[in-house]
Symmetry: D2
Subunit: 431 residues, 4 copies
């Protein structure tokens, strides 16, 4: 295998396309590798297929397609485009792994990065790890994926690739040839296979959260109703509240309205019900991995409901001290997952901390959903730490008189500070 | 001055009252002190007046009444009851101090303890500090206040008393005689001055947040519409959104719809507008100072709006790193203030941290208020750190190619972990 | 059982003793309980035996003596005094539990509270939990222990009692009768059984650390050589270094100089070797549970060596990110254990975090001990993350050129801050 | 100005040199810039001068030399080499700024990153900021510095350059041509100006700390006595302790043995005294900016003494709560400074936090220095929070009886946990 500057044909009259082709042609890449490609069937990964053939001259290309529950539409698109490309993707089904090992941890960690419940952040790492494993099995000597160089996914995939298949070549052509999204489209047209995108800038969907337009929406842009998949805007949602009962065990939802169901079905059901009642719009500034801010729009009805209830249930069943430290570690968890550190030993240690707290997080909540509002209507738990009889002024739990010395001892340091300040001539704190 | 068990007259046929009187009579208290009382005119502090006279035989009693912006109704009640008690309270006006030095810090700190924007937590400490100062000026040798022994206020006031007037006697009769709220009422009837309470368990109002029923509401109790002062429940709020523009400088709101106004007026205005649109209901589990949980109901339309916008504006104008650490220190700030540590040197140091970050927190936000929803409609700032041109895939800010080595270097530790795990025979992290 | 003010005989001519007896006599205590006493045989717990008999009129008294490895001298003293008291203690051997479940966690947590490796803080809680369990088995309805009211142990024991035997009466007579140490001695003389203390203020020894004089040493007091048990002061220690090799597995020391040994023996051996070479003196300000500072003197040669090496080995084998967060959780661990929160669910969650990190903490260290200095002479590990070939300027691990874009991308936020500051007219940070 | 691949003459018979020249020649660089070079006179920056002339064909080169107190030897070397190079450096004296604005903050922050008191980490950023300012004044359009691509300094300098002179070209030739240290030496020989290095791998000295060999020392290498500048190894240090009294004000040392002196002189004096007594050797694993570990050797007698005493003095004069949070922010401070984030707004906010705590950090300490040991012999402070009379069992500060209810209330959560666990059938925590 030699590395040469292999030329992609440039017969064209279109100067923008010429520039795109020039970008591709002006970079030397290794030739003749056996490549495993993370294939989703969208613009980026179809272009990868074309470039693997025409630019990298891959000896063999395995397009590996992961089913993480993105839904039938996306999988159909992937298959249709594969047919056009003349390839047969290897499909790996990681839906169950994603739900059982990843979403469960996200719920228990109150997953929240800048208001985003981290979704694509997770799937990219899971896909990368599984694609890299498959690549090792298949004897590949290169990995390829479709990330651009302005976003976060390149780092997420790179880390998982590096851990699972250290030393193997990693090709990220959109980034490495510095292509814009428009240039990608021109190139696909040039390759005779134009790709339509419903939403400019792309879209990524999991059952947990849908990302819309990847930071491409301006600061004052009003969001048209048409961009929502699950969401009926609050102004158009029903005039009557809908009530749902959610049952929890070990920090996880296990039943809706008393009916047990697996987590994926439960989430999908809540996406429908919550979305119909105007719940799940997220419109935030997000601090990207490289420290660049973007405005991001997400849609996540089930996640919004489940995370609100889970937090309240923790407030009910965990000690004050657990809650205070867990909130910090929850934030660290979400930051790490967002930054592509799912497989980091530190993330694993935080998981152990979180898991240790969830045994007591059991209960039943009734929530009322109404035009964007989630109201907790009733709460019960057999492992709660709320004992109103102890707190009640009328209870025998403790004699109020005990609190006089408790207040005195608690206030003792203030007497000492006052004494110190007087002795040292220090300003009395703000008083 | 001697300490004897001074008997309050017990002629009564009511056995519950007899028990209450017995509780009072069975405790020895110091006699003949010059007492400064934190007087609000409610059940607790009117009882204090009566007990100061009949039980403590105060040589002199100064009832000190603080105006922190609780509103005319409460002040009228305090005056009316004072007339009945035959006392003339000394009124200290700390509205401006509360607004300028306390609420500003609360906003900049994104004040949030378990979902509660900490309000009474602040006023109790401010009042205690000012009452203690006044007591020193007046030559008092005792301080008195009306807290019960099951709640948090006793600790808040004790700390401020201890710092400002260390060594002075502190009388907290409701707690120290172990009285229930019912017993307090019986005693006031016995003293010929029955006190009506609108809401069982009491109510405490500042412009920032109104506390309702102090933890006395059961877990399944539905909240009747009548308990709200500002709030129109979402189901009854207008069918059209109301739009407001809020202008910010140094992390503080300074104008509504372009009209500059002082913070207190701005908050009062937002309480009206926000409440009318269904915003401001808070229904949470709260971890009290003694580690006991209670269900607490609050009403805080302005606080809810301002804190949501302030957080978003920080997300816009502060660096990623400032936000991440500030969120932790914000939580610590709220915890300290809730726990009665306003005057603690550590709280002062956190204030210095927060103040240092707020210079850049400037901007203009338009929010749409609709049936409990606060939607940010537009954002602008001349000190923002959102530069879409840099992030844009089409910008010249940096060449995407630069990210290949950046991803490689960022992923290097994963290659090392993989190498270590292989050498040491350690399980590869979860893959 | 009734609660009356039971009088202990007061025939004496000694006015200090009279005061002590008055203190005892003036407090009402419950009579006729079946009491389980945490018995160590020292001044406090022998007085407890006497008071259980003469003041509490215990129906039955079980003196429960715990062997946590305090050594033969202390156990002999306990037995001798038991004989004099005419009681037969129930001995529970918790040495192995202390070593296997507690000291292991302390080492892995780099146990350090204000410089103190927390020792008595642990044993008190372990003893209290086991005594309370025994009390339940024996059908007791009261627990008794010898803590004073100025120290920390009362809280440690109370928490463990409350968890294991909630609702049972807890008697802490030294504290509850407000006795001074001198008064305790007078009372024991009065009871015909004077108790000698080698070190004024008491002494508490475990194999992990010896506490000397419990905060009773003044700020300028020079420490006489005679107070040390293991330690030869550096000035008198040998003129030649002693070298020891320590082998580690899963964050725990398992062998000295290649010879495997159980943890207790390893610690005892290092106490000898380290102490002989001037290592292990600790002289600190300690922040007590009630927020009071004291000067504390400890002696802990083995702990000093093991904790220094364990920290270095973590620096060798854990990722940068693990170390940074673990240092924070280590501090939280030590704080909780010191404050009597060993059995708290949060402490358990932190243990889970820590345990998750220790799998890779393996290696072999040679340390040189010389007149108070611990020098690490060599380090090796098969699970280290130190790969000098990668870092070396001569290695092929990565091309230095890659760092130009990495530096550019890392520095990008600074360009944006500069741009923001210029636009907003903000002061350029300190430059 | 055009960017072409300008050829440095390659007439040589030495194949290693040929490779080095090839590396230089094979990279295109911009031509004809006006360059400001951070010049120290060592191997890296002398090579920069040569390359600025022969490779970059600088229109004008300003060599800017910063005096940060590295001492006369280093300044003489810089001048001698400048003469040989035929250049006249512009000297900027930032000694006072470094001492007054940087070292003061380091002391107050208990500056410690993995055991390293951060020294070069600071000077690199200060130098870069001042060089960039000078460059702007001089109308330069490029900055140049001598960092390699395997170390940390490139990032530190890049960040400061980016903030102060955003958009200006940054040349880092050693890194950008991927040169090894040996190749640098060959090139300088080739340029007719061989450079001797006393210590292989380089050395960087400030008054605060001296870095030795920049990570180039192997894991088992014994450190020869000859590498130390200030340090007499403990085994060779005097047999008698030396005693020093250090006076502190606002968290800073202001006098030695009662004699007031400026901070730089005080540090230099303590380097002499401490070093003579075997103090100041640092031998650690350090986690570099890129996550690579290296073994680092430092020499810092004064820093070791001052930081130990400052920590103890904080333990004496600050509240427990200040100390606990400050230890976390101190760690964050050191991490940020090490990582080149001195000018980051977050670092500035942490400075504000720290400054707010130091008003009370006053006192006088006597330390005894002996063969590597620093013993605190006496402590005094007029702003201390150590009040032994309050803690003493014999004091009137508070009645021990008060602690019974305090212990009960503190233990209440454990009773609730026990109740919850029983109700929910949860395992009782570890008991």
């Amino acid at each position: 295998m030699t590395s040469t500057n292999n030329q992609v044909s440039t017969k064209t009259t279109n100067s923008a396309l010429e520039l795109a082709l020039h970008k591709v042609n002006s970079v030397d890449v290794p030739q003749g590798k056996t490549i495993a490609l993370a294939y989703s069937g969208g613009l980026d990964s179809t272009l990868c297929v074309k470039l693997a053939e025409t630019k990298y001259h891959a000896t063999k290309l395995y397009a590996i397609s992961a089913d993480v529950g993105q839904g039938e539409d996306e999988i159909k698109m992937a298959n249709d485009n594969a047919k056009k490309l003349g390839i047969t993707p290897i499909v790996i089904d990681i839906k169950e792994e994603f739900t059982k090992n990843w979403l469960t941890k996200a719920i228990q960690a109150n997953s929240d990065y800048n208001g985003y419940p981290v979704s694509t952040s997770m799937t990219r790492q899971l896909i990368a790890a599984r694609v890299a494993q498959k690549a090792l099995e298949l004897g590949c000597d290169a990995l390829m994926e479709g990330s651009s160089g302005k976003g976060n996914d390149q780092y997420r995939m790179h880390n998982a690739f590096s851990l699972v298949a250290p030393g193997i070549s990693i090709f990220v052509p959109v980034r490495d040839f510095d292509l814009t999204r428009g240039e990608e489209q021109l190139l696909m047209e040039h390759f005779g296979m134009p790709i339509d995108e419903l939403i400019a800038g792309g879209d990524d969907k999991t059952m947990w959260c849908r990302s819309i337009a990847s930071g491409g929406i301006g600061l004052d842009t009003e969001l048209p109703d048409s961009i929502w998949l699950w969401l009926t805007p609050p102004t158009k949602a029903p005039d009557k509240p809908t009530t749902v009962k959610i049952t929890w065990e070990n920090g996880l939802p296990i039943a809706l309205d008393g009916q047990g169901m697996p987590l994926d079905k439960l989430i999908q059901t809540l996406n429908e019900i919550g979305g119909a009642n105007g719940i799940g719009k997220i419109d935030i500034f997000e601090d990207g991995i490289m420290g660049l801010k973007s405005r991001e729009i997400y849609e996540a009805p089930a996640a919004t409901i489940l995370l609100k209830v889970h937090r309240d249930l923790e407030q009910y069943t965990l000690t004050k001290e657990e809650i205070q430290l867990k909130r910090q570690l929850d934030a660290q968890w979400a930051k790490m997952v967002y930054h592509g550190e799912w497989f980091h030993p530190l993330k694993k240690a935080i998981d152990a901390f979180i898991a240790s707290t969830q045994e007591a997080v059991n209960g039943e909540y009734v929530v009322s959903l109404y035009k964007g509002n989630i109201d907790i209507v009733s709460r019960s738990s057999n492992s709660g730490l709320f004992f109103p009889d102890v707190r009640s002024i009328n209870s025998e739990s403790f004699n109020q008189k005990e609190c006089a010395p408790a207040a005195h001892l608690r206030g003792l340091p203030y007497e000492l500070i006052a004494r110190r300040n007087k002795l040292a001539g220090l300003s009395q704190e703000e008083v």
